[in-house]
């Protein structure tokens, strides 16, 4: 019988080696599976979710009275109105945004070159400004109806002249569609251009007519981009308070602000807003699920097949509809603002305007770059390691856009004052001095708010641009020995550039228009153009708000023009 040899030190050595290498292997596996990077996306998501988490304790108190009151009186009509608004705006931005994007990206008609970029301009006009201009222009006492009355009816206001009422369900939907379609337009346009016309051309060679080519090839391929655009428009619709208040159209946000501002119950408002977020999260998850695993890859090359040459009736129809949208959404509002500025607004113009503009620009640029960085990280990490962790992180991080602005602002303010108090206590314990409130009254809180609010806006274009990076590109790069970072910088970035530009532009303009967070979190003497607009409009002085609003639009044009110069050819 052979007895096993006694275990000597030498014999145990491989075992120790194995034990040591367990750590090494784990680390290797961690980094190979993108552990560190995935951690980054989790951290971004948690940071973005912090202000939302600050509101969760609201559920600890039962706000029975308000809930019962809402259920007894408004809830049914609020939910109905919100549903109608969502459907109307969703359909409207889809038809106008996708339709115009298809026309400018794929067809040739008179004025196409101008419409191509001009149709992005309405982005610079805040929804509440468009709402007010539309009502001022088209309501009973406005110039249009007054003129018609003086032409056709001798006695004023006898009700003989029928005119569609602007302050109505149709009116609020129309205004929101005109203000928000650029999101869809820009994303769909980038997607159509990215597909290249070759794909559609192949379809036509295989016997499809242009309509079939559009519905059976272009549309499905652009689905991620279009969905992202429509989702942005709808999230903004859900969170909107300014425009619906001007129309006195009660939606879910109305109930939320009623609870807070009128009944002084922030807890109930926080409860309502978490419900809103839950709804948005479920809707977005549902869409993703229905999209399934299908992935669409374009040729990735610049378009090369010729555009569809529209002629005759079709050409005029195309030019006419683009011109109509542009006129309603941009030319008329800007003209009205210019008239107001000329008549009453110029008196307010003083040296401080340079300051307002520079603050607006500075916050816009820094905020947009920060937001883009976070969105790019989230999207590329998810692309590289598409598992549950990165997916949920991304979804969590992009919820802030559906949050009504003032509620989000308060969440962030609570977060930062809480941190500040901690810092102050710490400093006091060590030095006996006091820092007061450090972060909550600085631009850091404000920039943080912008990132949380607009991550979704940057993420949409970035993600749909990423769709254009095919697995084969990635594999080729990796097989040529490129590391993760090299893939990112040398392969992804050049392909992504149009998408990144779109993202930066959207966020930049959105930050400039942003009002509730800027109002609450700006440092002393850091007024922006949006703050000016608020000061004037909160007491109904719309004519005096025209100067800052017009300035905002003009400043917002700068990035649009830059974008056009970069991607125009």
């Amino acid at each position: 019988m052979i007895t096993p040899p006694p275990i000597t030190e030498q014999a145990r050595a491989p075992h120790i080696l194995l034990q040591q290498s367990w750590w090494w292997l784990a680390r290797r596996r961690f980094s190979h599976q993108g552990g560190a990077w995935r951690l980054v996306s989790v951290v971004i998501a948690l940071l973005a979710a912090l202000p939302l988490l600050m509101l969760l304790p609201a559920w600890l108190t039962a706000e029975d009275e308000i809930w019962r009151h809402l259920a007894d009186t408004l809830l049914v009509s609020l939910l109905r109105n919100t549903a109608v608004l969502i459907l109307g705006v969703g359909l409207g931005v889809f038809v106008i945004g996708v339709g115009l994007a298809w026309l400018t990206a794929m067809c040739e008609f008179p004025g196409r070159r101008i419409f191509d970029w001009a149709l992005m301009l309405p982005l610079g006009i805040p929804t509440y400004v468009l709402a007010f201009v539309a009502i001022g222009f088209l309501d009973f006492s406005g110039p249009v109806q007054s003129t018609l009355r003086s032409l056709f009816a001798t006695d004023m206001g006898t009700g003989t002249l029928w005119f569609p009422p602007i302050r109505s369900e149709g009116g609020v939907i129309a205004v929101m569609v005109l203000a928000l379609y650029p999101y869809v337009y820009m994303l769909a346009r980038a997607a159509f251009l990215g597909q290249g016309r070759n794909v559609v051309e192949s379809g036509r060679v295989l016997g499809l007519n242009p309509w079939q080519a559009f519905f059976r090839i272009s549309l499905p391929m652009a689905r991620p981009a279009i969905t992202a655009g429509v989702a942005l428009a709808l999230m903004e619709t859900l969170a909107d308070f300014g425009a619906v208040a001007i129309f006195n159209y009660d939606t879910f946000t109305t109930a939320l602000y009623k609870a807070w501002f009128d009944l002084f119950n922030l807890a109930a408002a926080a409860q309502l807003s978490t419900l809103l977020l839950l709804f948005v999260a479920l809707a977005l998850a549902g869409e993703r699920r229905s999209r399934g695993r299908a992935r669409f890859y374009g040729s990735g090359k610049r378009p090369n097949a010729p555009r569809y040459q529209l002629t005759g009736k079709h050409a005029w129809l195309a030019s006419g509809s683009a011109a109509l949208v542009l006129t309603l959404a941009f030319i008329i509002p800007v003209a009205q603002l210019a008239v107001w500025t000329a008549t009453t607004g110029m008196a307010d113009f003083d040296a401080r305007y340079m300051e307002f503009v520079s603050h607006t620009l500075l916050l816009g640029v820094i905020g947009a770059l920060l937001t883009l960085t976070c969105a790019l990280l989230l999207a590329t990490i998810h692309k590289q390691w598409p598992d549950r962790i990165t997916r949920y992180s991304t979804q969590l991080a992009t919820l802030g856009y559906a949050m009504p602005g003032a509620v989000l602002a308060v969440g962030i303010m609570l977060l930062f004052t809480w941190i500040d108090k901690g810092i102050d206590r710490g400093i006091y314990a060590f030095t006996g001095g006091t820092t007061g409130l450090l972060l909550s009254s600085s631009v850091i809180a404000l920039l943080f708010a912008y990132v949380v609010r607009f991550l979704a806006v940057a993420h949409g274009p970035v993600e749909s641009a990423l769709e254009r990076i095919t697995p084969s590109i990635q594999q080729a790069a990796r097989s040529l020995g490129a590391g993760h970072r090299e893939v990112l910088w040398r392969v992804y970035l050049p392909i992504l550039r149009p998408g990144l530009l779109t993202a930066v532009l959207l966020v930049f303009v959105d930050i400039m228009k942003e009002m509730p967070a800027t109002l609450l979190l700006r440092p002393f003497d850091w007024d922006t153009l949006a703050v000016r607009i608020f000061e004037m409009t909160s007491e109904g002085e719309w004519e005096r708000a025209a100067l800052p609003a017009l300035t905002l639009v003009l400043v917002g044009l700068i990035p649009v023009i830059l974008l056009v110069r970069h991607s125009g050819k």
Binding site: F140, S141, S440
Partner: protein, 336 residues
């Protein structure tokens, strides 16, 4: 190594941003205000000229501004809270954000019904919320009170602003204080029945609709009427002092209080006292075509030309107390 450099750089940048934009001079008086900049800055400038005291201020919406004050607690830089509407002032006092002030000057200058019984806030300018009418279609003799606007003869002729505006909430709250809830609800319901069109989002649009003939009567704040008349002197619109035969026209204030944790309590009181003085009162009220809260000070000529009126003298704190009830009542009555 580069990571470390980047983080150090980032932290340094954050610190610099925080210090540059977050820090403030220690001896400035700090005001949080829901009254707009264009209406308060001239006063701050005048005060600095007179006393050398520099005032820093932050404007914003009432609700979020109150939350900010609450969250900052004892560390708040704010010495004074200024806001419009008694309901908001009452709410701030109720949340323990305002300090009790006992000032002989203020008690003398500001009538008792325009300030908090406990001295936590003081009304500084007065606006009347009253009836306006189209002079081509309505004679002043047809008008009497808010309640009477529910009469059948106004069917399809009444314009109202949204019930979401605090001015209407305070007005209805004061009606509850006078007439009780049941009667007020009946009145509001009769208003809704008489509406010519959906409630407006602001008083200016209401006045424009009135002038254009979309409706014949409406309810607005006196200064909106003043502004409208100033802009379009020929518009066929006039103002009517409501409820003169009963409890008087509903008035409201914009006002101020010293914060609970003010670092410059005495200087803050002094500033509010100055605001109630003759000179500042004209400046304060005239900037927005309001009435001075100090009865010894005359209103601007345009405002004075509307004639004297009897005002409701129930303490405005009632408006705050009953605001919640008023909001729910209007919801029940279908007043959007």
């Amino acid at each position: 190594m580069t990571h470390l450099k980047f983080s150090v750089l980032g932290i340094a940048l954050c610190g610099w941003l925080a210090l540059v934009t977050g820090a403030q001079a220690a001896d400035d008086l700090v005001v949080y205000s829901a009254r707009n900049e264009q209406l308060i800055k001239p006063l701050f400038d005048a005060y600095q000229k007179e006393t050398g005291t520099h005032i820093k201020f932050l404007t914003g919406k009432e609700g979020p501004l109150l939350e900010r004050l609450k969250a900052e607690g004892a560390r708040t830089p704010a010495d004074i809270l200024m806001t419009v509407d008694a309901g908001n002032l009452w709410q701030a006092a109720q949340s323990g954000l305002l300090a009790k002030v006992d000032s002989k000057i203020l008690n003398e200058n500001i009538p008792a019904h325009l300030r908090d019984p406990e001295g936590q806030w003081y009304g500084l300018s007065v606006r009347a919320r009253t009836i306006v009418y189209n002079t081509k279609k309505v004679k002043p003799a047809d008008l009497s009170s808010y309640e009477a606007l529910g009469d059948a003869k106004w069917q399809g002729r009444l314009c109202l602003r949204s019930s979401k505006k605090v001015y209407n909430q305070s007005m209805v709250a004061m009606m509850i204080a006078h007439n009780g809830e049941a009667k007020t609800e009946a009145v509001v319901k009769s208003w809704v029945k008489n509406l010519a069109t959906t409630p407006f989002s602001d008083d200016d649009s209401l006045l424009a609709a009135l002038a254009a003939g979309q409706c014949d009567v409406g309810i607005v704040n006196s200064y909106y009427f003043g502004r409208f008349k100033h802009k379009t002197p020929d518009a066929p619109v006039n103002i009517f002092w409501s409820n003169q035969a009963s409890n008087g026209v509903h008035v409201n204030v914009s006002g101020a209080g010293v914060t609970q944790h003010a670092k410059h309590h005495d200087a803050a009181v002094k500033f509010i006292e100055w605001l109630s003085s003759d000179k500042a009162q004209s400046l304060f009220a005239d900037a927005n075509l309001e009435f001075p809260a100090n009865p010894k000070v005359a209103a601007a000529p345009l405002v004075a030309s509307w004639g004297p009126f009897k005002q409701d003298t129930i303490n405005l704190a009632e408006a705050g107390k009953l605001q919640g009830k008023a909001v729910m009542l209007m919801d029940r009555a279908g007043y959007k």
